[in-house]
């Protein structure tokens, strides 16, 4: 490269454009001067080394773990178990060796294969790898600690779990459904064996199963969450896009019985949204379910406060749909699929968690199918809203900007109130003017009416003295009248 610096102008030497490895293809600065093919090879050499180092580290940790486990077990003083312990250790060592070989083998078999690209995309940097392996180690330690409290049964479970994980390693190339089936079988077998052989009471079986699920799924998560062999990712993107396109849906359209004006309720709504978004960050199916349950509980509280009575399923489902629309939780479909495939089935079919999970599935199905009719809108309105030409109402900005902070929301609200006030003031002014005019009209009208009546019936006043003097004036023959009768006295 330094030679080229002598060159002037913008002339670019042909050789500079070519791949550094000299394979004849053109290179690219983004690939450090290699062509895409050579770059992939180079990159993978480096990555493979990294992976190898990581494996070695993991192996070492695992060995330490197992030793710690074994030593703590023996220090608990189960003398009669020493021989079996020795046996187990031996088998453990054997299996570990086997695994190591297998792991290397399968890892290297992928190099150069088409999967290379996928791998690249999946594990972008070794530091993330390391971080997850730290978490995995933490979970393993906890698992071992937990099993210690069960003595012999604990050992047995540990062995089974290890075997299962190893078996799953081979099955990584199988379809996700088959892997899911294996996991479900494993859950069932372990639980059964504990009950029948170990005589563990059911409540404890449940507890142990939770721990087993946590342990194995923390380890398997990387390989079975949103695997490339499925179209989960495509579905994720589709639903995400769909929810974005439905940003205009209001609580009124869904008949959501939640009044966000009440601060306590809007607080609950925010919490519910946070919970459902948090689901993606969990690795164990049970933890994901717990997020859904927490979200649902908040929804119920929000409804309860708004309606002042306990909520029913008729209220709950629309509200959950509204929360999902508002939150647009990341990788929704992947999470649902992952839970369906790898959660302990007894938990999913019954129990509170299962109930809320089912409701979430219904909500997602509704969002996927949603049309004008399901929102009580006309087809034209629906189409217009979907295409973004108009939004259903003015307060749209207030309700549908998830990024807006509280202040901005308040501002929108205040602006809205101000404009309403303005409108009302104008109306009052108009009315007042009208009233004024009415009053004027009224007085005018009255005056006119009075005038009319006055004109119609003119007042004729006769002179009063004339009529008094004339009372008897017409009696001309007054004198001719007989004299008035006189009273007479009768004697006898």
């Amino acid at each position: 490269m330094s030679l080229k610096s002598e060159r002037r102008g913008i002339h670019v030497d042909q050789s500079e454009l070519l791949c550094k490895k000299g394979c004849g293809y053109y290179g690219n600065p983004a690939w450090q001067g290699f062509c895409s093919k050579c770059w992939r090879e180079e990159y993978h050499k480096a990555r493979q080394k990294q992976i190898q180092e990581d494996w070695e580290l993991a192996e070492r940790l695992q060995r330490e773990e197992e030793e710690a486990f074994a030593s703590s077990q023996s220090s608990q003083g189960a003398q009669s178990l020493t021989f079996s312990k020795f046996e187990e250790k031996k088998t453990n060592e054997k299996t570990r060796k086997v695994t190591t070989v297998k792991k290397f083998f399968s890892a290297s078999s992928r190099v150069g294969a088409k999967k290379a690209e996928i791998q690249e995309a999946k594990a972008p940097s070794p530091s993330i790898n390391r971080q997850t392996s730290i978490e995995t180690d933490r979970v393993s330690k906890e698992f071992i600690e937990f099993l210690k409290t069960f003595h012999k049964t604990g050992q047995e479970i540990y062995k089974q779990t290890k075997l299962f994980l190893e078996a799953m390693h081979y099955k990584r190339d199988l379809s996700i459904e088959e892997q899911s089936e294996c996991t479900q079988d494993f859950y069932q077998n372990v639980a059964e064996r504990m009950q029948t052989r170990g005589k563990v009471p059911p409540e404890r079986v449940e507890k142990i199963m939770d721990q087993i699920e946590k342990y194995i799924m923390t380890r398997l998560y990387k390989y079975v969450f949103c695997p490339e062999t499925t179209d989960d990712e495509k579905k994720d993107l589709a639903i995400q896009k769909r929810i974005r396109a439905l940003h205009w849906v209001t609580p009124q359209m869904l008949c959501v019985p939640v009044n966000e004006e009440i601060p306590e309720v809007s607080d609950m709504v925010v919490k519910a949204i946070t919970d459902i978004i948090e689901m993606d960050s969990k690795r164990v199916p049970r933890d994901k379910l717990a997020c859904i349950t927490k979200c649902s509980k908040h929804i119920f509280n929000a409804i309860k406060i708004t309606k002042n009575e306990p909520a029913s399923a008729d209220d709950f489902l629309p509200t959950l749909i509204y929360i999902v629309l508002k939150g647009n939780p990341p990788r929704l479909q992947s999470n649902i699929q992952y839970i369906t495939r790898f959660c302990n089935p007894s938990r999913l079919m019954t129990g509170e968690d299962g109930y809320y999970f089912t409701n979430l599935c219904c909500a997602v199905a509704f969002i996927e199918k949603l049309d004008a009719q399901s929102l009580n809108l006309s087809q034209e309105d629906f189409d217009r809203y979907m295409s973004g030409q108009t939004s259903p109402r003015k307060q749209e900005s207030e309700n549908w900007s998830p990024d807006a902070c509280l202040g901005v929301k308040q501002m929108y609200k205040n602006l809205d109130l101000l404009s309403q006030l303005n409108e009302r003031q104008e109306r009052i002014m108009n009315e007042a003017k009208k009233l004024e005019k009415d009053l004027i009209d009224w007085t005018d009208g009255i005056a006119k009416e009075v005038q009319d009546i006055v004109e119609k019936y003119p007042l004729e006043i006769r002179p009063p003295n004339q009529s008094v003097a004339a009372i008897d004036s017409e009696n001309v023959e007054n004198d001719k009248l007989p004299p008035p009768l006189q009273p007479q006295v009768y004697a006898g």
């Binding site: 077998n189 059964e192 409540e203 199905a365």
Partner: protein, 218 residues
Amino acid sequence: MSQTAMSETYDFLFKFLVIGNAGTGKSCLLHQFIEKKFKDDSNHTIGVEFGSKIINVGGKYVKLQIWDTAGQERFRSVTRSYYRGAAGALLVYDITSRETYNALTNWLTDARMLASQNIVIILCGNKKDLDTDREVTFLEASRFAQENELMFLETSALTGENVEEAFVQCARKILNKIESGELDPERMGSGIQYGDAALRQLRSPRRAQAPSAQECGC
């Protein structure tokens, strides 16, 4: 029975659904049924939408786990996942609303199509207390129930009349089906789980003595 004094011990667990139009009082029925248990329990936090209760049916302790469902027409097409693994269902209509009665056929179709074949359904004409506003006669509804092979009761979530009865009758019929062998709790999706390991061994020695040896890797 190996029952101890523990309240959580039970022989079977059934998943029940409450279906029917919105406003027929599904949640109230559930509430009325569950509340009795929780009456004295001051820190009862479970919402009414989901509840469980252990009842004694002919000497067997059955834990009912009841799922309330959304009844609005617009959700009908998406609520199919509710039905998975339900052992029994209360199909509710409102005796004062012809509309809710007319919708029964649709609900029944869904239930028969989406739930397991052996689902036991009891028809509940709710709001029995509002007899003066009645729009659906007892006779008409019981004929409908007969034609569709449903059990039938008129209930009142307000007074509590026949509420427990409805759940118990449904559970009893499921138990009968299990005893007669018509229903196999071991089958996936039956909506029935065993509550007690001891009972399970008793019922199916085949499973107990052979915990899938082929899968045992040790």
